[in-house]
């Protein structure tokens, strides 16, 4: 290979780096490193001006390796790789040095030492860059068909949107009927629309749509294969349905927390909001004195989150109660009313209609006794004794217990409360870090019906992108097995978390082979191979050791 000509771009990131590290000193330092022929600072390397400088330097300085020392590869590596590609340089000859997240931000108080550390990091980056090799990206076909898991409002909406665009959809629901949580709801806020009517209309649309196959009383048994070509097996009773899906959408929803052992809950005179809705729907509601308690089992140490929808649910149901029985007295005991956005309107209406709100603090929670709820009213500074015929507990939505199993099957993460964890909290709310898997609705986080519908269309958009393109490009950072060294022991196959390496019978005997489209490049196989027969593309031993060596050598 030709001699490496390395260009180093040091980003000030405004003051994020420039305010804490001596950037001109880093630029000067980089110039003295082996094979570095060009070094420059930018106010923001990621701005169009910075990117233009990279492109120009590649052309004018004949750079064949580019290093950007800046924020983090997590958000910016694709951009810089693309810039190299546009200038005719193989994108894998780009190397990222993280001097912001892992240096200037964490050593804000120690400018001098941090600058020295940044020098070490840049020196390591240069040592590695010199040994980088061009890589060819892997193209994978994408089947134009989707698996949507969960037949609630989110899953149904998503399936319909995809099917309307002409994609084949298999919609899997574990219960007997489609509809999810809405089957049990009564009137929806803010329109007082009938929940059953809403899902009824969706179900009819689905039945008419030739592109959707619905499997109810069914569960996903197995998902093999990889992005673009998942081999799915759905179990319905004793029967297995195998099919191929290009992408997967998780819309499994959430369920209501049952407050067993709390506030005298017994499901008759002390019920949850969902149970109240069933009573209202079945015309079994009959009470004059109703006390609702918010945040039961939520916003506490065990479950330190607000479940987003319960305040509106409570207000809506309280107003329905008043409509049914104008003589009824409804008290709502709350901590903070979470009627965000236009839902504030519900809160105002509820007060106008005469619902009484009592603020309690978590340190002095209400107590449900025989026929009376005792609560310390924070505003009055006094304990109130509220007689009741019915206590309604507003409990949070919690993740389905089996979401963990599904998460494992698809190799996607869940958060500490069991909700699925998106790729980026701010900018990729409907994607997973794993390509080809998307999510929407309350499986992601408790959401209102309207929000679930909005997210379902969003997930349909995201999932349709690879299917419209018919193919995707995968990173070539995968493992490669040296056929001569491999002894076919099968250890790699056993420990691969992605089922991406397989031992096969060949004329030369048993030899392992990587399934490149499934390989995530984690390196577990390479680290464990007793023969050292497996190397990782772009992360070869010598490339990584070069970094360690220059670090140990010092300046």
């Amino acid at each position: 290979m030709e001699e490496a000509r390395v260009g180093v771009f040091v980003c000030r990131c405004g003051t994020n780096i420039g305010g804490f590290l001596d950037v001109p000193a880093l630029v000067e330092y980089a110039k003295g490193l082996p094979n570095v022929v060009y070094s420059k600072e930018n106010l923001y390397t990621c701005s169009e001006a910075g990117l233009t400088e990279i492109r120009q330097a590649i052309a004018e300085q004949k750079l064949n390796r580019v290093i950007v020392a800046s924020c983090t590869p997590r958000t910016h590596e694709p951009l810089f790789r693309n810039t190299c590609k546009e200038a005719g340089l193989n994108p894998y000859l780009f190397e990222f040095v993280n001097i912001r997240d892992q240096c200037s931000w964490v050593h804000m108080q120690e400018t001098k030492k941090a600058t020295e550390k940044a020098k070490d990091l840049i020196r390591m980056g240069v040592a590695r860059a010199r040994l980088l090799e061009p890589q060819e990206e892997i193209e994978v076909e994408v089947a134009p068909s989707a698996l949507v898991i969960g037949g609630g409002i989110a899953g149904m909406t998503c399936a319909l949107s995809l099917a309307d665009r002409g994609f084949e959809v298999t919609l899997v629901e574990r219960e007997k009927k489609l509809g999810g949580l809405l089957k049990d709801l009564y009137k929806l806020y803010p329109t007082q629309g009938d929940a059953v009517e809403l899902i009824g209309a969706k179900i009819r649309e689905i039945e008419k749509n030739r592109n959707i196959e619905v499997l109810t009383s069914a569960t996903v048994k197995e998902i093999k294969g990889f992005f673009g070509n998942y081999d799915v097996t759905v179990k319905q009773g004793e029967k297995d349905f195998p099919f191929r899906a290009g992408v997967v959408v998780i819309a499994t929803g959430a369920e209501e927390f049952k407050p067993v052992g709390m506030y005298g809950y017994e499901g008759k005179n002390v019920v949850t909001q969902l149970e109240l809705e069933r009573m209202l729907k079945e015309n079994k509601f009959n009470a004059n004195n109703v006390v609702m308690i918010q945040c039961v089992g939520a916003r506490n140490e065990g479950r330190n989150y607000c479940s987003r929808v319960c305040c509106m649910t409570a207000l809506n149901n309280a107003m329905i109660i008043l409509e049914r029985n104008p003589k009824a007295q409804v008290f709502t005991l709350y901590r903070d009313m979470q009627t965000y956005g236009f839902y504030e309107d519900l809160y105002r209406k509820a007060r106008e209609k005469g619902i009484i709100f009592v603020k309690y603090s978590p340190e002095r929670p209400p107590a449900v006794d025989e026929g009376v709820v005792k609560v310390f009213d924070e505003f009055l500074g006094e304990e109130l004794r509220l007689p009741y015929n019915l206590v309604v507990l507003s409990t949070p939505m919690v993740a389905h217990p089996d979401s963990k199993e599904l998460a494992q099957m698809l190799k996607v993460p869940v958060d500490e409360y069991g909700f699925f964890l998106e790729a980026h909290v701010k900018l990729r709310p409907l994607d997973f870090a794993t390509d080809g898997v998307y999510l929407c609705g309350s499986a992601h986080w408790p959401s209102t019906v309207s929000e679930s519908i909005a997210q379902a269309y969003g997930a349909a958009s995201r999932a349709s992108i690879p299917m419209s393109r018919r193919h995707v490009v995968a990173e070539p950072i995968v493992s490669v097995v040296d056929q001569e060294k491999c002894i076919g022991c099968g250890l790699c196959e056993m420990i691969c978390p992605f089922k991406a390496i397989r031992v096969e019978e060949t004329p030369k005997g048993r030899i392992a082979r990587t399934i490149t489209a499934s390989c995530k490049g984690c390196g577990v196989c390479g680290a464990s191979c007793p023969q050292r027969a497996i190397t990782m593309r772009h992360f070869k031993d010598e490339q990584m050791l070069a970094e360690v060596v220059v670090l140990a050598e010092g300046k």
């Binding site: 990131c13 405004g14 994020n16 701005s47 330190n304 236009f342 709310p429 958009s461 419209s468």
Partner: protein, 434 residues
């Protein structure tokens, strides 16, 4: 990768919602015309310092999206442009777009700023919330895309009085062009997505808070610029009156929101952005003490409640449930907060270095005119009207709405909605796959 035979989609607004909608459509192979009225894409998110609840630097996560949009082969950007006329129907709209003259040749200008440095005019800078002055020729912000200068015709000496032309002389690339004229172009599109975002409510009418009367009473968006590294104070939290570091800060919630005399709705994100702003203040200077005056703490999103807990425990934010009756000022320019503590209840006062008003989100200026041009209805609050169970449908077929122009929402909700609106528009223009 181009969806065959499909008509393009128009996206109005180049903030995070508009960018996401355009990128999704572009990635599906659909051609997009993105219309932005300002000289650069980026929108409100570009003005924020960091984002809750992860404290990610806002421009750092936004600028790759901006670049992606700017370089996308299927997206045509029309910045500094406005919608003038819309006719036709779903699947077949004709739109007249006014491209305002920048008086700068986009192809020649590299945004070096030599002209701005020599411009003798100083006017208040809109992007930095009028906390800084700029020339009549200016770059909208540091990471602007396209990275080109714009001449502000209302303030340029040559364009208003026929004298000066210094910028023309100093530009080494002959990029200044005073002969440029506004032009009108006609675009045929199949669907339209509206993502015009919000304006912060102007609290000047709430005279009890003394905004604009007391220099150390600022809005939350002004505060974002004050604490931002690329802002007017270089990221040092210096209060406007005397550039003294602000160490004791009062944040006042629901300014103009949940207020039947102004905006009766809740602006949905202020509890969180104020918590972030208080956290950042203490990150900048561990001596800082923040007080948040609130009515209800609304933390309904993923990780939000935990963020509040963190604010209280790690950053010592004091949340005080109560309403601020008025703000006065002492002789040193320190705001005095007069408030009622609802739990107690007592009336008290507190002297602080800086008071920050969490003003509500209101529809962007010009929303009414745009609604007329588009032929769509607004809701009772002046936002674009949609239906709860068809959340992107405006009142006219083929025109969709997402982000803060339909209701105040946070960034992830805007992004999710933008993708959703893209799916709706794609349903129209692709007419089915294969």
């Amino acid at each position: 990768m181009e969806a065959k035979g499909s008509k393009p989609v128009m996206v109005i607004g180049g903030g995070i919602a508009g960018l996401q909608a355009a990128i999704d459509l572009g990635d599906m192979g659909i051609k997009v015309h993105l219309i932005e009225s300002k000289p650069s894409i980026g929108g409100r998110m570009a003005q924020l310092d960091k984002t809750f609840p992860t404290n990610d630097c806002s421009i750092c996560i936004l600028s790759p999206k901006m670049a992606e949009c700017y370089r996308h082969p299927n997206i045509t950007l029309h910045t500094y442009s406005e919608i003038k006329e819309v006719s036709g129907k779903m699947g077949d709209f004709s739109v007249k777009v006014l491209k305002k003259a920048r008086f700068v040749k986009e192809k020649e200008c590299i945004g070096c700023g030599d002209c701005a440095a020599k411009c003798p005019v100083r006017v208040l800078d809109e992007f930095d919330m009028e906390l800084r002055r700029r020339g009549a020729v200016y770059l909208y912000f540091l990471q602007a895309l396209p990275m080109v200068m714009t001449i502000d015709r209302d303030n340029c000496l040559y364009l208003t009085r026929g004298v000066c032309r210094i910028c023309e002389k100093v530009c080494t690339r002959q990029a200044i062009d005073f002969e440029q004229k506004d032009t009108e172009i006609d675009l045929d599109v199949g669907g339209i997505i509206v993502a015009t975002g919000f304006d912060p409510f102007n609290p000047i009418g709430l005279s009890e808070y003394g905004y604009k009367r007391y220099r150390n009473v600022v809005t939350a968006l002004e505060y974002e610029r004050l604490i931002c590294a690329s802002g007017p104070t270089g990221g040092h939290l210096l209060r406007p009156s005397d550039r003294k570091p602000a160490e004791k800060i009062a944040f006042i919630q629901c300014v103009g929101s949940r207020d039947v005399k102004n905006n009766s709705y809740c602006s949905a994100v202020c509890c969180m952005h104020v918590t972030k702003e208080a956290i950042l203040a203490r990150e900048h200077d561990p001596k800082t003490q923040s007080y948040v005056f609130y009515m209800d703490m609304r933390a309904v999103g993923k990780g939000f409640q935990r963020y509040i807990t963190r604010g209280e425990e790690e950053y010592r934010i004091k949340y005080i449930r109560g309403r601020v009756a008025k703000i006065t000022e002492d002789l040193e320019g320190n705001p005095i907060i007069w408030y009622e503590k609802t739990i107690g209840p007592t009336t008290e006062k507190m002297k602080v270095d800086l008071a920050v008003l969490a003003t509500s989100f209101v529809p962007r200026r010009g929303t009414e005119e745009l609604a007329k041009i588009l032929g769509v209805e607004l809701d009772e609050y002046g936002f674009f009207k949609t239906e709860p169970y068809a959340p992107f449908n405006s009142t006219r077929e083929g025109i969709f709405v997402c982000g803060c122009c339909r209701e105040p929402v946070d960034i992830p909700d805007s992004v999710a909605q933008a993708s959703g609106a893209a799916a709706k528009a794609a349903e129209i223009v692709t007419g089915g796959y294969s």
